[in-house]
């Protein structure tokens, strides 16, 4: 488990994508109102050493944008990302290369993230060669070690990506991420493209690696069951904001935020005697029939209020702040603490 020292801190992260003025408005010459997608709108979180934080949310919740900002692939609109005390957005040259070595990523689509013209050994070696360029023999040894670690036979080293199955490709992706002995790994939906029996293999591998290598990671997924299996703590995102963050047990076994409750109630249960489609909560979700609105024009107040069964008058006008409800859990909801305790907790 975590020894408590902080590896990553994200502070009030915002990322807006500029949609510009619509062509029609420009043509009409009327009001030229700029439109933005508020992909990430004020996200704060920390990840401690040897901890896996699961970031879960539906499409459009902003979870992948958070990951891209943390990796320094896109600059944030505002807010700060501190990795071991360094601000990720302002790194240049050598320091940036150092960051690349310490922070790695595994992507969702194993087919799309491996260069089809490179051999497996070169794909796995690339981060090491690009960031520090050790002698050839050292690289070869590292590649061998990584292939063994992720369960790929050495004779596959000279094969090209198309010769591997989906699960094997993802193993290559994991070997590539781990070859620089990173201090922090972002896993962005690493098993979402895989079949059920293969997903189990890769999840087991990731759990073993986490334990054996004491990895610190951010695990992003839309799948509640997967996040529950992988995470020490879980953050639930909705429309660019964190609704609830707490330990795995807190969030999964006793969700507080109405959105977390809805998410968990919506999961197909693999138990024909306990179907959500026949449960009270399931009927309510069905009858309410609403889907997540667009992040272009998010609702006022609490962004979840149009779908919330407990919505009160103030939920429509003002946004609930993150409120600490236990030493390890915070919730952004007026049902738990008022806004005064909230501002104190911040």
């Amino acid at each position: 488990m975590s020894d408590g020292s902080e590896v990553l801190r994200v502070k009030e992260l915002r990322k807006y994508f500029d949609l510009g003025v619509s062509r029609l408005d420009r043509f009409l010459g009327g009001e030229k109102e700029k439109r933005f997608v508020r992909a990430v709108d004020g996200v704060s979180l920390t990840i401690s050493k040897e901890e896996t934080l699961g970031l879960v949310g539906e499409s459009g919740s902003g979870k992948s944008t958070v990951a891209r900002c943390i990796l320094g692939l896109i600059p944030p609109t505002s807010g700060r990302i501190l990795f071991e005390g360094m601000d990720v957005a302002n790194l240049k040259g050598r320091q940036r290369r150092l960051l690349r070595r310490k922070m790695q990523v595994v992507f969702q689509d194993p087919a799309g993230s491996l260069d089809p013209s490179m051999r497996a050994r070169d794909i796995i070696a690339e981060p090491l060669v690009a960031t520090s360029g050790p002698p050839r023999r050292q690289v070869d040894e590292a590649v061998e070690r990584m292939m063994e670690l992720v369960g790929l036979a050495q004779e596959y080293a000279n094969r090209f990506p198309h010769e591997f199955s989906g699960g094997q490709k993802q193993r290559i992706g994991i070997a590539r991420a781990l070859i620089t002995s990173p201090e922090f790994v972002v896993l962005d939906e690493p098993t979402s493209a895989l079949d059920a029996s293969i997903q189990a293999q890769v999840l087991n591998l990731l759990r073993d690696l986490k334990r054996n290598l004491s990895l610190t990671s951010l695990f992003i997924t839309h799948n509640m069951k997967v996040v529950s299996f992988m995470s020490d703590r879980i953050a639930v995102m909705y429309l660019g904001k964190i609704a609830e963050i707490g330990t795995r047990d807190e969030v999964i076994t006793e969700p507080f935020h109405p959105y977390t409750k809805m998410l968990i109630a919506s999961i197909p249960k693999t138990d024909p005697d306990n179907r959500f489609t026949e449960s009270e909560e399931g009927r309510r979700i069905m009858e309410q029939g609403k889907e997540a609105p667009s992040p272009v024009n998010p609702p006022s107040g609490c962004v979840f209020h149009p779908r919330c069964p407990y919505a009160m008058a103030k939920c429509k006008v003002s946004e609930p702040k993150m409120t600490k409800v236990s030493p390890t859990r915070s919730v952004a909801c007026y049902l738990y603490g008022d806004s005064e305790t909230a501002s104190r907790a911040m």
């Binding site: 699960g167 079949d195 059920a196 029996s197 189990a200 293999q201 759990r207 693999t270 489609t277 889907e291």
Partner: protein
């Protein structure tokens, strides 16, 4: 009593490709019970989608080739042996289909109301006026001779209400891009039901949807089965999704049905080692296992299906007979069937 709305009998389907014969279906025997939801579960490459397409004659032949003894019996006819004209009568009146991606299945340049109206007009044309000629979408927008347009509009509104679209009058005049993913899938379901089919085929209808939207669509499908008395073939890669809706389940592997049973028995007492493996591979919310029980290896390529039982290279209980002999799908216990040598005959 319950009968069978559609029966697959020894359906084999091979595609000739440059790399060799792809054996997509390898002797499928399966009955879809009347008035029930049959869930077909399989991983990618199991043949589940091509099974669905076969019922509507949507597999091009060539390159596809059905076996000599293969048949798909619906309404007393063998769908593999009737002509295109007769198939036209079945499509969209006897059997309707909902696809995985509602965004690419709806026509982006026609209003939603027009697209549903097309299904209504076709049904009236086929079932009531007994005409088999095809109608282009454009023609059906202008109106078809002999069809009362006020009645068509009423029926479109009704079916939109049936799929719980809150403001059907408003929805009529909208284009597909104005709808969310879940709303588009509701429109697809409305189109399928407008034909008043006896069999609805749903091929991964919720796979591209978010989990809260999926919950809504699954509940809707279940309600509609009762309201419309339609039978459903529900195809999915996700056991847990199928467990929510299906009355009976068939598990597919490498182009064959390897186990069938009612939904409770499959989840309580799975027989086939592959079904067991799939169930154990699924992470569960409530428990905290140290590791998942995973099946070794991966799904075989349909170009090179292993001899004997296709699952034997991955099976933890494999014995010599499995490598030589394909196990037949035979009854086991009180309700189910399984294709596994562990349950039938001598182990050696």
């Amino acid at each position: 009593m319950t009968g069978t709305v559609l029966a697959f009998r020894d359906v084999t389907l091979t595609f000739e490709t440059e790399e060799g014969s792809v054996k997509a279906l390898n002797g499928v025997d399966l009955d879809i019970p009347t008035g029930k939801i049959l869930g077909v579960v399989g991983e990618s490459g199991s043949g589940k989608s091509v099974l669905a397409l076969s019922t509507l004659g949507l597999v091009p032949t060539p390159p596809g080739r059905y076996g000599q003894r293969s048949s798909i019996i619906f309404d007393g006819k063998d769908l593999l042996r009737i002509g295109e004209k007769e198939l036209e009568l079945v499509r969209g009146t006897g059997i309707s289909m909902i696809f995985q991606e509602p965004m690419s299945s709806l026509n982006p340049v026609f209003k939603v109301g027009e697209q549903i109206a097309e299904a209504v007009r076709l049904r009236i044309l086929r079932k009531e006026l007994k005409q088999t000629r095809s109608v282009s979408l454009l023609e059906s927008v202008r109106g078809v001779k002999g069809i009362d347009e006020d009645r068509v509009r009423e029926e479109v509104l009704e079916v939109l209400r049936d799929v719980r679209i809150s403001d059907p009058e408003d929805a009529l005049d909208r284009y597909p891009h104005e709808f969310s993913g879940g709303m588009k899938q509701r429109v697809m379901i409305a189109m399928a039901l407008a034909a008043k089919p006896s069999l609805l085929i749903a091929d991964e209808p919720t796979t591209s949807l978010d989990v809260t939207t999926q919950a809504q669509i699954l509940s809707l499908v279940k309600d509609l089965v009762l309201e419309f008395e339609v039978s459903v073939l529900f195809i999915s890669h996700d056991l847990s999704v199928v467990s929510e809706v299906a009355d009976e389940i068939a598990v597919m592997y490498a182009g064959r049905i390897i186990e069938t049973n009612d939904v409770r028995s499959i989840f309580r007492d799975p027989k086939h080692p592959y079904t067991k493996g799939l169930l154990n591979a699924e992470p569960r919310l409530e428990e905290t296992r140290k590791s998942l029980e995973s099946l070794a290896g991966s799904v075989p390529s349909l170009l090179r299906i292993p001899g004997g039982c296709a699952f034997h290279p991955r099976c933890p209980y494999v014995f010599p007979r499995c490598e030589r002999e394909v196990p037949a799908l035979l009854p086991v216990g009180t309700s189910g069937e399984v294709a596994c040598h562990l349950y039938h005959g001598e182990k050696e």
